[in-house]
Symmetry: C2
Subunit: 878 residues, 2 copies
């Protein structure tokens, strides 16, 4: 039996998302609900999978099925595909399971050819419109399907406009456009050696294949990686009969949200243009009108749209983002989906939906993308600085948040400069090609485009700040200058953008940290009610610890003692310690470090007020602490009373071929037990002092890094317990402490039962564990990973998102072995994955006690942990 | 109930080796067999374990038990411990499960004190002997138990000899020795602040603790690592009543082997000294007499010894190494054990024992240490060169084989120089402190000592060549010179040693490769009959492949294509390929490499005559192929038509922080598919040519390195199959080929089911797998691993012997997952572990199809594979 690869909209429904893609399922659902949808059919994601499995060819089986459905569509519409009377024109659009707006390809007006266009002109009574549609189709088909450079068509269009002495496309006549159609077909033939296809069925097959192929275009690959979408899904293809918003003043097109996607206000929101096609709205070429004005222009349409929006929101129990077209006074719904929204509106909408009895708290929590919270967790402009500042310009507040950075005029420049400092992307208007440059930037500033322009939509999705449509800016992308009035800003000059107000300031404005309040606080409260996974933070000093507490961290999961070593007043002592040639010399240097480290720990304990603190012993290779510049080296040699050459020789002896797998972690404690002893003393003495002074019940958790073998652990643990017990005995103050280990080497995970017998806790160091499991150096992978994405080998960065199939398997093994050997074993994770929602979810499912992440990601982890608990309870498999 | 920690010799037996150690079990067995053994008792290895578990203290429980057994020993011997009449003196000796001759501590004559020595002098009627025994005891106790520097005692002895104007110890009088006893006691008190202990019970406890502690002395740790003995076992302690071989001419001591340990001849073999103690024989201070002469001196004793030797050999079904003492005309057996033997004698003895019906072929195979075969697999001197050469000196042929090397006069110098070239250790005589220097050397040359001297015994055990007792050499260890006649050799000068003849030659003599013949061939034949694990070799060129075939390799498991790249005529082309900036440029360079690689593969296929050949695609990071010296760089820049700075910049861009985890292996094929395509073409074209020319049925096995993810594998495999299929189609010759993957990253092992679906075979690359599993860079580990051994954290080098608990677990996982996904999957191992007997055994047990090792280790692997099969069949757990 053949698989069913094609579904009429009337055959599907909203639950068939996996098979029909998001757009297809929702078109089917709207059809089912009796809403006005131009009819069509959806080719399934399974067909896309088959296309790739067959070496990128469309099977004859699928081809036959599509032709069959074209016939059905002809019946439904009463039009004929390729027919000279009442011709059926269709759009061919992608539609993946997860929405990827603008990332893949679309072909409109398909079905036109040299004959059909004549009857189409007659049927519409509008030859200008017919030939314009045809020339657009040829251009789109040539560009998207056959990869004829778009600019070859554009050049002809520009040339025609010049020749006619007009500046707008709309000023060209039907005859001009007819000529262009001929010229476009000539370009097509010149580029490809064949005529532009006249058979609509061939056109259709070409377009379908192009949409399938666009699943792997670089933009889509990059978008998926950015949003953590798997490449396995593939895209469905929607073939839909065309409706036209550009057939006169009784026509139009627009986008509407059932609530305000920027503020969350419960009021229909959107933009429309009369006598226009959808792309005109999105591209930001003409400035659209607010949706409220539709009530004046076409009151009945407005009411109908309002009712549909309300119904869809209640039906989907979420804010909807809808596209519509009005063709000669009749409303058609082209799309609905859960609307992308700013994090502020996401929080408000979630809380409002609960108070409106539209959904439960659990459902509300699931509506918020934890990653988006990131946006709220970055600094805002300092209120005083803001009051004192005079903006240089004002645009649309397209995506909230504050950002300062050097300005760059191309995506490439932005990407390159972002490695060295914060950047802002400045463009006349953005296009999908800019997406990686936007991702690398703190904010986006455009001269053109509205609230739903490409720049605005994408920036909101990414959670970066955006000021769009800032019309008074003169941007010269060639010269790389931005001019406001008579002030010229050059590449690299600093600007400050306030995406919440739309103001632009020159220079770098002072920012203040974010806080959790209002709707955000409510959501966090709900999240804390349901989650079972605890959230700690990685913090190396009292300042970071304070931020962590403010964001709700329940402890510190990783305090890196080496970060303290880099402080300028300590580095010389650390260097002295490293370059010591005898144990005695080293102990003298350590003695100087002891009070400094102790003071660090005291500050952290005081801030954490008795919440648990895990402190990791010195981890990095010692050569990291030594200078590289000759002048620094000479200064150090002088200070150490060493010859310059002797110093160089010492430093040379410390160099390593593969430092990541070299003399670091617990290996330092094995060769220099006195370092571990000093650090233990500082940890315990600080705890005793703070306990005595403040009365907090502190139980320091001392963590040993880079353990591969149980005998390393017992050796280092012996140093720790010997020192700690002696310090406690000296002090006469009772103090409990725990000794545990990082699990960051595969061998540690594989022998976790042995390690558990000697450890009070495990903390999975997934940064190193990922490096070792893949045999992949994070510092070097950048050079070739890009090719891995392009070549479909990896679809996410395993250093950002935990690789469950490999690294996750080791974690599962370690959890099982560890808990069997020691049922009360405490389990945590302290890699960067602790702030990634999917990885947090994995941690919940695998049974960890806590995750520890950057202080600024604590709320993300709290929400992700709640979502994981809810999904598990609901039986949703991730 | 208390554990039984002590056994009389009469309570034990030979099967109790684990508990009583080898020496203790055999003393008990000889007692059981009614042989003349000085009675005593053994403190178990469990007591040693308890000693360490108790923080290096002897429990009062053990102390009580020992005193009880002293009472029993008093009853048996009729002597009194510490008694003034007929005092009981004892020896305290270590005895581990695995024999570790000379590695641990021994104390003799224990029980003497200032009173007892008087009655002992009376009882023996020999005050000189009594005081000599006492001063030896004080010296040994001070040195071994209390760590008073031995040289402080030696200095006093030398001083006394000078004062008395004598040159031998034996020329000192009883009074001289009595004075020395007083002086030694004064040194003891001066060093330790307490009197020399007079209570024999305290002496005994001190000695027992010292023997326990000696389990971890550096020599023992180093010996265990060298022979792969686990540190877990601990040592037993044997307390035995003393007998004295130095009580006159009717007394003596010696060592006897039931067969010749050097040649394997079936004839009693050994040495003895009259009026001497055991240490005099072993230390090589007096040159002992051949055992045959005992028949003249003490014919009855000789007959008795001969019968005992024969009985013990039949009883243990193996050649025995026995120590005996004759006290006033009565023979006492002090030890028997399976004798260490040269590999040649091991092979002959094994074959002989089978033909004498003393054991089965399987048992015979188990008697040979596979590692020892190494000795036979190194070159011998070229016969012609040997005939033409004039030796400069002649000593004892103490350990066979030929060796050339620079001469060094201390173990440290040898170790240091061995990194740069072959070395010979030259010493007046060796001692246990020299063991690491010997290990680092190709051979040992001594001026003093017999066939059972330290140098001879240890060299045979290590399988390195030794010429001992070369009396005409004048060795000045201070000046670092060796003088023969009037020729002076300095440190670093080359000598050649023939350990099979005892001749010493100056300079470097030509050597010829070893071959498998005679007894060796018989044993290999037997091994091949029982083993099921196949053995392949790692070989990169036809020469190595020919050696591999000669040693019985059944195929090539790893041909590294990059080794071919380093050939001087190719390197410039390789560099051109690497520094190409366009695909076209790179393809031009690859085109030049193609015929070279194809010729390499043709040569290998021809040599292997249809046996399987696995070829690995390019693996190392490209920067390895680039020059480092400025002049080479300038030459290359010129050749490439590049600016010097541009070249430096290109090379700089290739540099990596952690090259081991960087851009190498299949990652090169992902970024430069054209390299993989060229190599595939070379592999397939060569196979087709050789198949056509010779008719061999060649099925090339193309192996992809460093796979971590199945999608890497499918990507590279697609390049390979596309190229290979095209080449085969072009040629019109039918050819099968296979594509497989290395499993050398943890993630590959963890996802082996996915990989198996795309692989015809797996080859475990255990070098890299060990690095990644431990997170340990082989290039950097040297700096700290020594401390790991000293601190009891690791007891073997995981790069030499497979870590079964960690790396082995990954292999087991991969085998299971792989075979489940593809039952016919071919499994092999191609790390250096393939030539290590224990690791080979693991491979057998885990169900691999083959191991692949260096050509010179193929016979080792064949024997190890046979032993594993036999042990498995016999139910012996390893």
């Amino acid at each position: 039996m053949n698989k069913k690869f094609v579904y009429l909209f009337s055959e599907g429904n909203g639950a068939m998302r996996e098979l029909l893609g998001g757009k297809g399922a929702n078109l089917a659902e709207m059809t089912r609900l009796g809403m006005p949808v131009p009819q069509g059919f959806t080719i399934t994601t399974e067909a896309c999978f088959q296309y790739y499995a067959n070496g990128e060819t469309i099977s004859s089986e699928l081809e036959e099925a599509v032709y069959g459905y074209i016939s059905k569509l002809e019946e439904i519409t009463g039009k004929t595909f390729g027919g000279l009377e009442n011709p059926l024109l269709v759009s061919v659009r992608s539609g993946a399971v997860d929405s990827m707006p603008g990332m893949m390809d679309t072909i409109l007006n398909l079905g036109l050819n040299n004959q059909v266009v004549i009857s189409f002109a007659e049927a519409t009574g509008n030859p200008r419109f017919a030939y314009d549609s045809y020339r657009r189709f040829i251009q789109m088909y040539g560009d998207v399907v056959m990869e004829v450079p778009k600019k070859r068509f554009d050049a002809l269009l520009e040339h025609m406009k010049e020749e006619r002495g007009v500046s707008l496309d709309t000023e060209l006549t039907a005859d001009d456009l007819k000529t262009l159609v001929e010229q476009f077909q000539a370009v097509y033939k010149d580029a490809l050696g064949v005529e532009f296809p006249q058979d609509p069925k061939l056109q259709l097959m070409g377009a379908i294949a192009a949409v399938f192929r666009s699943w792997y275009n670089p933009r889509a690959v990059s978008y998926r990686r950015m949003y953590g979408i798997s490449a396995d899904g593939g895209t469905a293809v929607n073939v839909q009969s065309m409706v036209f918003g550009n057939m006169g003043t009784d026509s139009g097109t627009g986008v509407a949200f059932s609530r305000n996607p920027s503020t969350g206000a419960k009021r229909i929101y959107g933009e429309f243009l009369t006598n226009a096609q959808g792309e005109d709205v999105v591209a930001g070429i003409r400035t659209p009108l607010p949706i409220e004005q539709l009530a004046d222009v076409m009151p009945e349409i407005y009411d109908q749209l309002f009712l549909i929006g309300d119904k869809l929101e209640r039906h989907y129990r979420d804010m909807q983002d809808m596209e519509f077209t009005i063709e000669r006074g009749k409303l058609y719904m082209l799309q609905t989906r859960s609307g992308k929204r700013t994090v502020l509106s996401a929080l408000k909408i979630a809380v409002d939906l609960v108070s409106e009895w539209l959904c439960t708290k659990d459902e509300a929590l699931l509506k918020i993308d934890p990653k988006q919270l990131d946006n709220l967790l970055h600094p805002q402009f300092d209120a005083e600085a803001l009051a004192a500042a005079k903006p240089i310009s004002h645009g649309l507040a397209a995506s909230p948040g504050a950002a300062c950075g050097g300005i760059y005029f191309t995506a490439e420049d932005c990407k390159a400069a972002a490695a060295h400092g914060p950047t802002l992307l400045v463009r006349i208007e953005t296009s999908p090609e800019d997406i990686e440059g936007m991702h690398a930037s703190k904010g986006v500033l455009t001269a053109r485009g509205g609230m739903t322009s490409h720049a605005a939509v994408v920036a909101r999705g990414m959670g970066i700040c955006c000021v769009s449509g800032c019309g008074e800016l003169r941007i010269d992308e060639e010269a790389k200058t931005l001019t406001v009035g008579d002030h010229v800003f050059k590449e690299g000059d600093f600007l400050s953008l306030d995406g919440s107000t739309g103001y632009v300031y020159s220079g770098q404005m002072k920012t203040v940290p974010a806080s959790v309040s209002g709707y955000f606080a409510t959501i966090m409260e709900w999240a804390d009610e349901v989650r079972t996974l605890k959230v700690r933070a990685n913090a190396d000093n009292p300042q970071d610890a304070a931020v962590a507490r403010r964001f709700g961290a329940e402890g510190i999961g990783l305090a890196r003692t080496e970060h303290m070593f880099f402080e300028p007043d300590r580095l010389p002592v650390v260097q002295e310690m490293i370059l010591s040639t005898t144990v005695e010399q080293r102990e003298r240097a350590l003695e100087k470090l002891l009070p400094m480290q102790r003071a660090d720990f005291e500050g952290i304990y005081e801030t954490m007020q008795g919440h648990p603190v895990t402190i990791r012993l010195l981890d990095p290779p010692l050569h990291e602490f030594l200078p590289h510049q000759e002048e620094d080296l000479r200064a150090l040699a002088k200070e150490m009373g060493l010859g310059y050459d002797a110093l160089l020789a010492s430093i040379d002896a410390l160099k390593e071929v593969n430092p990541m797998m070299g003399h670091r972690g617990c290996r330092l404690s094995v060769t220099y037990p006195e370092i571990a002893a000093m650090q233990t003393r500082a940890i315990i003495e600080a705890a005793i002092r703070v306990k005595q002074a403040k009365g907090y019940d502190i139980v320091p958790e001392i963590m040993i890094p880079l353990i591969s073998h149980v005998d390393e652990l017992t050796y280092v643990k012996r140093i720790i317990t010997k020192t700690a017990d002696a310090v406690i005995a000296e002090s006469g103050v009772a103090l409990d402490y725990q000794v545990g280990t990082m699990i960051e080497l595969p061998r540690a995970a594989l022998t976790a039962d042995e390690l558990a017998r000697e450890s009070a806790f495990f903390s999975f160091g997934t940064n190193d564990l990922t490096q070792m499991t893949f045999g992949l150096s994070r510092d070097d992978a950048g050079k070739f990973l890009e090719q891995y994405y392009q070549k479909k080998i990896l679809d996410f960065d395993p250093f950002s998102r935990l690789d469950q199939a490999g690294v996750g398997k080791l974690i599962e093994t370690a959890v099982k072995l560890g808990r069997t050997a020691r049922p009360e074993l405490k389990l945590g994770l302290c890699g960067e994955h602790g702030g990634d929602a999917r990885s947090v979810s994995f941690c919940h499912h695998v049974g960890l006690d806590y995750v520890s992440c950057s202080p600024y990601r604590v709320p993300i982890a709290r929400l992700a942990a709640a979502q994981a608990a809810i999904r598990k309870r609901m039986g949703i498999i991730e």
